[in-house]
Amino acid sequence: MSDTTKKAFTGADAASWAMKQINPDVVAAYPMTPQTAIVQNFARYVADGLVDTEYVTAESEHSVMSATIGAVAAGGRAMTATSSAGLALMAEMVGVASGLRLPMVMAVANRALSAPINIHGDHSDVYLVKDLGWIQVFSEDPQEVYENMIMAVRISEHPDIQLPVEVNQDGFITSHAVERVDVLEDATVQEFVGQKKLDKYLLDLEHPVTIGPLELQDYYFETQKQRNDAMFKAMEVIPQIEAEFSKITGKIYGWLEEYRMDDAEVAIVVMSSTAGTAKGVVDAMREQGKKVGLIKPRYIRPFPADALVASLKKVKRAAVMDRAISFGAEGGALFNELSSAMYQRDGQTHMQSILFGLGGRDITPADIEGIFQGLLDGDEQLIKYVGVRE
């Protein structure tokens, strides 16, 4: 294990500190609450000469992603960050980045989409872009943000993957709450991320290439299949990169984190900061002899169906919590993908969809205890809102 220094960091601090240590060639950004703290910190590192990065202050997120795409296509290592409306505005270019197979890392402080306008945390922004070909990793706390950011560079740039990675954290709840974060030495991070080595890029004048040409009925479909194949290749590569990083941090990562699942009868599946709240509830209910457990998915793209179903099959009943509504769908997006994966693998676990926490609405330990108790009592309701005044 490598030496670490203790820092009092918000999730935003953790993301920008990782960016400082990665020292990318280009960062393009536009401030968007609650991501602003990330790019503001990074702008200070640039102004203070602590990084070698070319910092591009673009006039919109569409331009931010365009500039980032340009920088990566040219051969550089580029990063950015955004939230909510910013992610929505850049959505066209988000798909271009992955479609052109340009590795980059984007920190996203997840925030509700308008309307009504709301600056607080939910997952409606990331769900909007989850099918655009980016690897999507979720962070429970600032420590996980920091580590995910560093691993994301290697995952993104792996020659068999070459896909952009979005590192998600809950807006305000994680991005603005201070916790202890153990940070690595700059040199350790630099050594882990290494030099970017792609064999084809625009500024390689000896081997000229065209990036982003037209493809019609004859080739577009093949290129999309390649992009999907890369996602599934990432299923093989991500565990290897995580194992390598584990040697530095001494931690175990993986597609999901199981918390007290060994003899659990019921479980909650929930991502990001709510998993932290739920762990406390699991401990309290275990004290009362109730066999409850938690599954925290870390990735939803690629979707680790085998790992999640294997974990879910340990319990009789499970509630899958989505912090966004897929309007008109039968339950939340994560619930639906998990239900489908469960059915395909002949799983018998009874599944319930929980919709919660929109627009930063508090999700309390009592709320989570209520969900667990419902599972233990055999609650048959398929879709349940938690925390809303119905």
């Binding site: 479609g99 052109l100 197979r101 340009l102 070459q162 084809k200 081997h207 000229p208 290439v209 065209t210 990036i211 982003g212 040409p213 493809e215 004859d218 080739y219 577009y220 093949e222 290129t223 299949k225 390649q226 992009r227 194949d229 890369a230």
Partner: protein
């Protein structure tokens, strides 16, 4: 035309790694109509050559005079701009 390649065979992300390979892309198949040249009426004004967005008008010497000499039909998409700018009725869409 060469046989279409598979997803495993092509560069990722639609990248073109052979410069100038648009020469292999015969966009003439897009056309529903294409221009016909009557060299006898051509005065060599070169309007058609300068206006053609795909550089499809061939030129050369005819009896010692500069003239349009033909159309590259494999690339002509049939936009008709050459016909529209020709002042001498030397080009017609067919």
């Amino acid at each position: 035309m060469s046989p279409l390649k598979t997803a495993r065979e092509i560069p990722i992300g639609g990248m073109i790694v052979e410069p100038g390979n648009s020469l292999n892309y015969h966009t003439g198949s897009w056309a529903s109509k294409q221009p016909r040249l009557d060299i006898a009426k051509c005065t060599g004004c070169a309007f058609c050559m300068n206006y053609c967005p795909d550089d499809c008008i061939k030129s050369g010497q005819v009896d010692g005079q500069f003239r349009a000499t033909g159309i590259k039909y494999e690339y002509c998409k049939g936009c008709g701009v050459c016909v529209a700018v020709c002042k001498f009725d030397a080009l017609k869409m067919e």
